[in-house]
Symmetry: C2
Subunit: 299 residues, 2 copies
């Protein structure tokens, strides 16, 4: 487990992604460095009211703590309470244009240590796409990029991480997936550090090719108040998922993380409406009937 | 424990409150009756885009279940898993005018049963006020109405329930109370059923006198986009509290409650902004420095 190498990769990934997004948006990100009283810190890069992105947050953090919160590892509850280091890059981009999907990407690495025991490390990560007015072409492109990123690690890797994503990004109280999914993985430590690190590097480095072509294709589509209202309504689901279910968010809040950095994932403008249902045959209904359903997008 | 009497009181309370709010708003509430597959059901009454209330939900529910979720009773974890009945009225009113505070009120009754054991029952409830542009006069009026409602049950009741409210409606990740508080209580079963029921009746029946005079005083105040933007921003805290901490919301979602009824508590339009801070000396700063701090409002 090579902490400096992972850290260097993550910092570079944040830099590369922000530079590309700034070019797309023609607006600079704000950059906040912060430190935690308990140890470690991070760099939050944030764009609000941009030309393309209404809110875009790209976080790098490296936090050190005395007690690993239970939300850190669903698969290894026996490690809760150990001292830990957690490093990661996490981003959520909320475009202004309702034809451009919201996207999330995260790569992370944990190290849990205890006197008298071997240190335990693992990686996690993934990316997933949340469209408002969806296009099959975009969902296919995103999933194929995910599949290609994982291809060197075996043909079963993408379908496994795709299913894991479908399970993870699911709103039980709505019986609804968050979007069209992507890939998700956690507790990755096999077969060895260098293979796992290589996989995580490929996931991180393939984020821009997975997402940017979709932005370029859709960002200048015309839209009106109706599309914005539906986007604001659907963004409510994003808030519900992140605050009720998301382990990264809960880990951040539980571990005394920096609240403003954790909650840059929340959308800028959101609406809740009671018992809203799309008109039969409308583009809004198509999102529910054709996209928020289990599908094989890469095939 | 007289289930029919409690149920009759709660249904009547919903009716009275909705009738009064309809008069204030000059707009009728929508009324939805619903049933749960597992047993029981409820009546959701809802107003959206009203004249005074941008979103107002008043729920009555009586749900029956085979397994009491752990969120139902913080003080009695040993009852988790028993069959149960839960009855209550719960309301959240989000006014349009930023000078009128948001308010929440809830009264509830649980009955946990198990073959071979005595049934266990308890009451809970409370009300709390969440201003945007606050007035000391309003906070004092609300707290005094709470104090007066509890006065027949001993002079120590209001300060205890006031402190409990301050503890409960607190956003740990913001180190910030939700608003100016009010009263909160749970696990109430002493000294006997009739005294507890009487207390809950007084809390429920004193909601309108606690809140309506504040609405009447403030609803016609002039406001602009700036006040609306601050209101939308502060409403984000309401969402964060309800989805991350609120036991009633979690109980509803965990017990297979009706999602649309549970989430009528969420505000209609919400905004998140990164690391926003009020201008020194502004009315917005006054909310933080003079109102979102522990204070004795009834004195």
């Amino acid at each position: 487990m090579d902490v400096p190498a992972v850290k260097q990769f993550l910092a570079g990934l944040q830099h590369t992604i922000v530079a590309c997004l700034e070019q797309i948006d023609s607006k600079a990100f704000r950059r906040d460095e912060w430190a935690r009283p308990e140890g470690g810190g991070g760099v939050t890069q944030l764009l609000e009211d941009g030309n393309v992105f209404e809110r875009a947050g790209v976080n790098f953090s490296h936090v050190v703590g005395a007690n690993l919160p239970p939300s850190a590892s669903a698969g290894r509850p026996e490690l809760a309470g150990r001292s830990f280091q957690a490093m990661g890059v996490s981003l959520v981009l909320h475009p202004r244009n309702p034809y451009v999907p919201t996207v999330h990407m995260n790569v992370r690495c944990f190290l849990a240590e205890m006197t008298g025991a071997r240190p335990v490390w693992w990686f996690g990560g993934g990316m997933d796409l949340t469209p408002y007015y969806p296009f099959a072409e975009d969902a296919r492109h995103f999933h194929r990029a995910c599949r290609d990123a994982l291809a060197p690690f075996g043909a079963d890797r993408y379908p496994r991480y795709k299913s894991w994503c479908d399970e993870y990004f699911f709103l039980k109280h709505r019986a609804e997936p968050r979007g069209v999914g992507g890939i998700f993985f956690d507790d990755l430590s096999e077969p060895d550090f260098s293979t796992c690190f290589e996989l995580v590097k490929r996931v991180g480095s393939n984020f821009l090719p997975a997402y940017v072509p979709i932005v370029e294709r859709r960002k200048d589509w015309a839209y009106g108040d109706g599309e914005r209202a539906f986007q604001a309504y659907r963004r409510g689901r994003y808030v519900e998922f992140n605050l009720v279910y998301d382990r990264g968010t809960l880990f951040g809040l539980q571990s005394g993380g920096r609240t403003e950095s954790i909650l840059v994932s929340l959308p800028p403008r959101v609406e809740w409406r009671y018992d809203w249902k799309p008109e039969p045959g409308s583009p809004e209904e198509k999102l529910y009937t054709e996209f928020l359903v289990p599908r094989d997008w890469a095939g």
